[in-house]
């Protein structure tokens, strides 16, 4: 039977941890709200823009142009986006497992290189045998503008000079607070395998000519898509952390109530025992006729 003092200490320490998880949950909630607003407001652009770019490129019949060129995938790069910090449940480990499975599958067909974004991904891929082209391990949430610009330039260069044939992104898409959705998507090339012609065959007018409009449009494609993935991942991370800390707080509460119950039982037992001992002593004295 544990001593009362030990139990009391234990309860106190669980209570301290609970306060910490509670505080972290509050912080995560505040950050989540901010990240969530950003994601929701920007989603219309993110979702409609690539479709439009693709549709316009196909309407213009420029299937062979720059970002749209589909080459046999001999060299591919995979961007893996995780968080910097832990304590967000299975957020990172699930994603890294999926990413690894994906890399394994692609490895047979092409030379695969990785671009880890976030400290967790960087640390993970340092231990594995995949070549790492570029890694971002520090302050991904704070420096995201800078990182998205750098990544954009890097990818633009690599793809246009045919140093890489396709770029994939593995990231956590924010779906709901309960769980993020791990998404694998092809960032480059933008082109689709088969041409989807719009239902009406009225040829659109172009003003100015098609190639200039497409060039103008595609200038922005990479930049905003990279931002898209980074921000989605951030919103999902904060949501996961919120849930993880919520669960931790709840578990601590349960643990405390169990421990308090045990404590009270032991206390009561020792009181009963002491009373019994006193009573026995009194009876014994009575019998001796003192």
């Amino acid at each position: 039977m544990p001593a009362l003092i030990d139990l009391r200490r234990r309860i106190q320490s669980v209570r301290n941890s609970q306060q910490v998880t509670q505080a972290m949950k509050t912080v995560a909630t505040a950050r989540f709200k901010k990240a969530h607003r950003l994601v929701v407001e920007r989603r219309p652009f993110w979702h409609i823009f690539p479709d439009l770019a693709l549709a316009l490129s196909q309407a213009a019949g420029l299937g062979r142009q720059a970002f749209l060129e589909i080459r046999p995938e001999k060299k591919i790069e995979v961007i893996v986006i995780t968080s910097d910090k832990g304590l967000c449940g299975a957020f990172n480990s699930n994603l890294l497992a999926t990413a690894e499975a994906f890399l394994q599958q692609k490895k047979g067909e092409a030379a695969v290189a990785v671009i880890p974004v976030g400290r967790k991904a960087s640390a993970h891929f340092r231990r594995l045998k995949y070549p790492v082209v570029k890694a971002y391990a520090e302050g991904v949430d704070k420096r995201f503008e800078e990182i998205s610009r750098e990544l954009k330039q890097h990818l633009e260069y690599r793809f246009l000079f045919k140093q890489v044939d396709a770029v994939y992104v593995v990231y956590n898409e924010f779906r709901s607070i309960i769980a993020p959705r791990i998404t694998i998507t092809r960032l480059l090339p933008l082109g689709a395998e088969e041409t989807v012609l719009p239902p009406d065959h009225l040829q659109p007018d172009w003003e100015p000519e098609a190639s200039r409009i497409i060039d103008y449009l595609l200038r922005f494609y990479l930049k905003y898509q990279v931002q898209h993935y980074l921000l989605e991942s951030q919103a999902a991370e904060q949501a996961s952390r919120m849930m993880a800390m919520e669960n931790a707080t709840k578990n601590a509460e349960e643990l405390i109530s169990d421990l308090v119950l045990l404590l009270n039982k032991i206390r009561q037992a020792s009181i009963t025992r002491e009373l019994l001992e006193i009573q026995t002593a009194v009876e014994a004295l009575k019998q001796q006729g003192v």
Partner: protein, 91 residues
């Protein structure tokens, strides 16, 4: 082409930061590169670049509203008007 006087179009103006306008409209004027373009229902498909200026549109209740945009891109197809704008910002 439809000649229905109640014919309407769907207008969406989207910037990278947010959805600026999403509404049904009766007519729209947009700042093209070489002056304003008027768009009415039944307009033929058009892809165009837009200059800096104001989009002026008449909502279904007949009120005229405006929104200023930086340069951008316009797509008209099937009475759906899609405008992307302000993409140069926050670089």
């Amino acid at each position: 082409m439809t000649t229905d006087s109640k014919a309407r179009m769907h207008l969406r103006v989207i910037s990278p930061q947010k959805l600026l306008v999403e509404t049904d409209v009766l007519e729209v004027q947009v700042p093209g590169l070489e002056g304003y373009l008027g768009l009415w229902p039944g307009h033929r498909p058009l892809n165009a670049c837009l200059g800096r200026g104001e989009i002026i549109y008449k909502t279904v209740i007949g009120r005229e509203e405006r929104i200023s945009i930086g340069s951008g891109l316009l797509q008209v197809a099937n009475d759906k008007i899609l405008v992307f704008t302000d993409m140069e910002n926050d670089d």
